[in-house]
Symmetry: C2
Subunit: 280 residues, 2 copies
């Protein structure tokens, strides 16, 4: 594919910074412009090669860009987008049902919005953790609608694929329903597991507890936004999950070892099919 001439990344943290590094490394962007609201992060992004130039002024950063990546909450940049229309705007956020129609309605003429959710990253944040291979081998969900121009969609899909990602297309609502189960519910569960542990037990926590609760170390305001923007689906997923937990509790209470083993064996088989064992 033809490289983007100028890509503006708004928000050069873990995801935005890694994307800048990856686009440059893959030769998919001639110039990367980083936009943020903290000069120190912008300086770090330039120093590590995630951006060729940086600016605190969104309109200045977007001018003449053919691709704008929203890697930060969108609020303060809406005006800049209307002022200086790029060709394609994408986001990298974790929920889509609310964001995609809102962004589509914000787009100026001739400017296409394509919702994207690269499922990569960790509980860490910030440009200091950015790396060019963050996306390699991971999954990216792209969420087109009836309003998405085919050429913009195609170019965005090709870009993620060239960064080593497996791309799947889902509607914004379907994305949120499925992500509630595999991402938002596990986040709630991890936080609830930390909360359910008494002070006396906490000091006995081993590596199993550390892994099971890892995502609970994610940024609280960021995850508040994710959960609130998908609240109904997440609450439904919690209900369904409570039903599964209830099966375990009642099998334990009636001493049904065979049922416990079959529940565990089925979970192990499903997980082992999906995830390869991590080296110890």
């Amino acid at each position: 594919m033809k490289p983007w001439n100028q890509v503006t990344i708004i928000g050069v943290g873990l995801i935005g910074g890694s994307l800048g590094l990856a686009l440059k490394k893959a030769g998919l962007a001639r110039t990367v412009v980083g936009v943020g609201h903290r000069q120190s992060s912008l300086d770090e992004a330039r120093q590590c090669g995630a951006a060729d130039r940086t600016t605190l002024d969104a309109a200045d950063g977007i001018r003449q860009s053919d691709l704008v990546v929203l890697a930060t909450p969108v609020g303060r940049f809406g005006a800049a987008l209307r002022e200086v229309a790029p060709t394609v705007v994408i986001d990298v956020g974790s929920t889509k049902a609310a964001v995609v129609p809102a962004m589509e309605s914000l787009m100026p003429d001739g400017c296409a919005f394509v919702g994207c959710h690269p499922i990569a990253g960790s509980e860490q944040r910030g440009i200091a953790h950015a790396r060019a291979d963050l996306f390699d081998g991971a999954l990216c969900v792209v969420t087109p609608t009836a309003r998405t121009p085919h050429n913009a969609l195609d170019r965005v899909v090709q870009t993620w694929a060239r960064l080593g990602m497996t791309v799947r297309l889902l509607g914004p609502d379907e994305h949120d329903r499925l992500l509630a189960e595999v991402s938002h519910l596990p986040h709630v569960v991890a936080a609830a597991l930390v909360r359910a542990v008494g002070a006396g037990a906490e000091s006995l926590a081993g590596p199993g507890w550390a892994d099971t609760t890892r995502v609970a170390s994610g940024d609280a305001p960021l995850w508040r936004d994710i959960l609130m923007s998908n609240a109904a689906e997440v609450a439904d997923a919690i209900d369904k999950f409570q039903g599964v937990l209830g099966e375990f509790a009642s099998a334990l209470r009636r001493g049904d070892a065979a049922r416990i083993e079959s529940l565990l064996a089925e979970a192990k088989a499903r997980r082992d099919k999906r995830v390869r064992h991590k080296p110890v």
Copy 2:
């Protein structure tokens, strides 16, 4: 401390094999004898240095040992212990309230039982994954009772400490109650999370899901035994956990973003105090 003259490890898998390697490396055992019921595992244990000699015959393996480590379900070895009494017998199992009194009543005269739970390991099993540093830096809970001789307790505690473990003493019942919260509940939750995910969502699972569900890849019969031997405490921990999950669901349903943020922030703070961030 004076090294053990001969240590017999019954069950040379991940834990037993790692213990053999660690005891030899630390100079804490002159001879390590491995006992098992599969010749191939015993051969592997001898080849990797986890045991100096091995045997399929428990009575033969225990003869003249001053320490016997039960690193396998105890059933078939009770007779051998009565036949050839060692000085000290320990186990390395994950529950204690049922096992400790049962083992104490099995001990012949002059032979002390000390319940031990080194909180180390992973979802992997078998001698192939054994390593000398498995215990280093981890926690070991030792569960003495009124019947535990002080000299045996002291020697066992010193042994774990010399392998780099932090040793804590808890009563068997207290051990099981606390482990229900930090280990058995997370295991049930991980398995339930796998079960709660629909087939359509599974393929979207990212690194967060993989970590949150990691322990669900543990051996199903092994974990059936752990959960069943602590069934009442685990069922109570599930109930308590359901209550915490309910707080999240109701905050989501009433749109209470502030409450969601405070639940998440509190969990993050507690976890970050306990576990250092894992490198990405």
